[in-house]
């Protein structure tokens, strides 16, 4: 069971690592890295779903009958673009937080808010 489904196990492990980082880390940049790992695991999940055993790339060719399903791959291209946009926006927010507060550590942020 483990060998042929290993990519799904990788997905689960990556997903949990990413999720754990988002929850535990106090540094805003590190949180984003965790979020990125979390999203990437879902990308791998979609790519794995689309793969058909022994299937080739979905391009018509002589002597090939089995093709992988291209649709999940196309879907996940969209999701990757969305992920990049999210990350760019998040990093822009972190830059502005750094300018406004002078720190990117969650605890220090909360302290400085309490002071005023």
């Amino acid at each position: 069971m483990l060998p042929e489904l290993y990519n799904y196990w990788v997905v689960i492990v990556l997903m949990m690592i990413g999720f754990y980082i988002v929850i535990v880390q106090g540094n805003l940049i590190k949180k984003l890295i965790g979020l990125n790992i979390f999203q990437t695991s879902v990308f791998i999940f979609y790519i794995s779903v689309g793969k058909v055993a022994d299937g080739s790339a979905p391009i018509l060719a002589e002597g090939v009958d089995v093709y992988s399903n291209p649709l999940p791959h196309v879907l996940i291209l969209t999701a990757i673009v969305v992920g990049i946009a999210t990350m760019a926006l998040a990093l822009a927010l972190v830059i502005r937080i750094k300018n406004a507060y002078g720190t990117v550590e969650e605890e220090e942020l909360q302290e400085r808010d309490l002071q005023c």
């Binding site: 999720f19 988002v22 805003l28 949180k31 979020l35 979390f38 999203q39 879902v42 999940f45 979609y46 779903v49 649709l71 999940p72 879907l75 969209t78 999701a79 969305v82 946009a85 999210t86 926006l89 998040a90 927010l93 972190v94 502005r96 937080i97 406004a100 507060y101 942020l109 808010d113």
Partner: protein, 490 residues
């Protein structure tokens, strides 16, 4: 032209957004954005009329038919929510020109309208589409625009609130993406109609349960169901007032729509009922949300934050309606979608007027406000009465249907709980009224808000009363939509 309405509903604001970017003067951008959002109201009005006349509208994007291409599918439920979202969107933008004058620096004002239209397009898209992956894309369009809009707030805590919402929102959206992936790998389709045909045969598949669980949790994060609501109060409190008003009246409503769409149309009401007591969970979380959020609201010194917590409580009522699990309960939820949009729209717009004069919505600015800004305060009182559920306002109508639904099931404790929840609303509204009318304000001179802000606020306040007395339109639409979702009529 008329047959293209479903796509025009989404594409008009979506294309107007980048066009706004070309207009570098704030006033020109505002006029253009006003026009675009007025057009989308007209379109949604026509859509309601068409669906009423001819039944469900199906539109194949680019001429590719349903299972292969993306289908836009407008039934009564989506037409109803489209009308709410585009109507509120247009009213808010009428007031936006004045409201953002002090809250957003002039050079950033044209960009504000770009974000606003993108957010509107995303929200309309979620409702119009009949394809679950398309839902995810539009969800992210509206969410990304929302994060940027919240970050425009004057207070630096707005940035922190936007960041927190971004983290939570992205996790929610990714959960939805996982759910969609499971559904596709199980059924081989992304079309909601197809899914609803194929899923009943796969009732006992673990993959379907997993997909269901991921989708539900993802959507509940987005709609701020207690205890997943922690992102909401800060985001609402520190965003520019007009953004708060827009989001409070539309964004969570669209998330509730999505919950209803997945739960009732895609999976079917009875799905997973044997393994997961979803309705009892909804009832428990909804009630907990009503009480906890109302109690927290009572202690808030910032009035924007107070109403943000009250929004969490009101979402609780909508979820209770779903949790009752009958057509009447669902109708109460749908009515509350409409009514809550009206009352929170009016309240937050009135707060925008207060912020416009005082620079913040702290409760100490409210001392003596009844004399200084009589119209604004009158709107807050009407909105507050509506929030409590006093007869003659829209709030009463939704509470009435909710109690009716509980009565049908003979659930007396629930009826008492709903009434107790309304009493908590009385406390936080009374606190505001007491400060505004019975406390003496400091002697700073302060005038009523400008008319450009007051008129949209007054329209919403009057709508609160009008639809509280003449309930035909929302009751007809919500009743037909609820019947449709329970499969009584097509």
């Amino acid at each position: 032209m008329l047959s293209h309405l479903p796509i025009l509903q989404v594409i008009v604001p979506l294309l107007a957004a980048p066009a706004c970017l070309l207009l570098d003067r704030a006033r020109a951008a505002w006029l253009f954005a006003c026009m675009a959002s007025l057009v989308s109201v007209v379109i949604s009005g026509l859509l309601v009329f068409q669906v009423h006349q001819f039944g469900v509208l199906s539109y194949s994007l680019g001429g590719w038919d349903a299972p292969w291409g993306i289908e836009y599918r407008i039934d009564l439920l989506s037409a109803y929510v489209l009308l709410i979202v585009s109507g509120i969107g247009a009213l808010m933008i009428l007031a936006a020109n004045t409201a953002i004058r002090i809250e957003i620096p002039p050079e950033r004002q044209p960009l504000f309208y770009v974000l606003y239209l993108l957010c509107l397009a995303g929200l309309l898209g979620i409702v119009a589409t009949g394809d679950i992956f398309n839902v995810f894309v539009f969800l992210e369009i509206s969410s990304l625009a929302t994060y940027a809009l919240i970050a425009q707030g004057q207070d630096r805590r707005a940035l922190w609130a936007a960041y927190q919402y971004l983290i939570v929102g992205t996790i929610g959206a990714t959960f939805i993406l996982i759910g969609i992936g499971f559904l596709y790998s199980l059924t081989g389709t992304l079309n909601m109609q197809d899914l609803s045909n194929r899923l009943p045969q796969l009732e006992n598949s673990a993959t379907a349960f997993t997909a269901f669980a991921f989708l539900m949790v993802g959507v509940c994060l987005k709609l701020a169901l207690f205890p997943l609501h922690l992102w909401l109060p800060n985001a609402y409190a520190y965003a520019p007032s007009i953004v708060t008003a827009f989001l409070a009246a539309t964004a969570t409503k669209v998330a509730v729509y999505l919950l209803i769409r997945f739960h009732f149309s895609v999976f079917g009401v009875g799905f997973a009922a044997s393994v997961l007591p979803l309705h009892s969970i909804f009832l428990a979380l909804g009630l907990a949300g009503v009480f906890v959020a109302s109690l927290v609201a009572i202690q808030q010194p910032n009035v924007k934050r107070l109403f943000a917590y009250s929004s969490v409580a009101q979402i609780g009522y909508m979820i209770i309606g779903i949790g009752i699990g009958s057509a009447t309960g669902l109708q109460a939820t749908l009515l509350h979608l409409f009514n809550h949009a009206l009352m929170k729209g009016a309240l937050f717009l009135a707060l925008a007027a207060v912020v416009f004069r005082f620079g913040s919505a702290d409760i100490r600015h409210f001392a003596g406000l009844g004399q200084r800004m009589p119209w604004t305060m009158a709107v807050i009182v009407i909105g507050g009465l509506s929030l409590i559920g006093v007869p003659g306002t829209v709030g009463f109508i939704s509470k009435w249907y909710l109690v009716l639904a509980a009565f049908e099931r003979d659930w007396w404790p629930l009826i008492i709980a709903v009434l107790l929840g309304s009493l908590l609303a009385v406390i936080y509204i009374w606190r505001l009224v007491e400060v505004a009318y019975f406390w003496k304000g400091e002697d700073e001179v302060c005038r009523e808000a400008p008319l450009s802000l007051l008129i949209p606020t007054a329209i919403l306040a009057l709508a609160n009363i009008y639809f509280g007395i003449d309930t035909r339109l929302p009751v007809y639409l919500s009743d037909s939509a609820a019947q449709m979702l329970f499969g009584v009529s097509p």
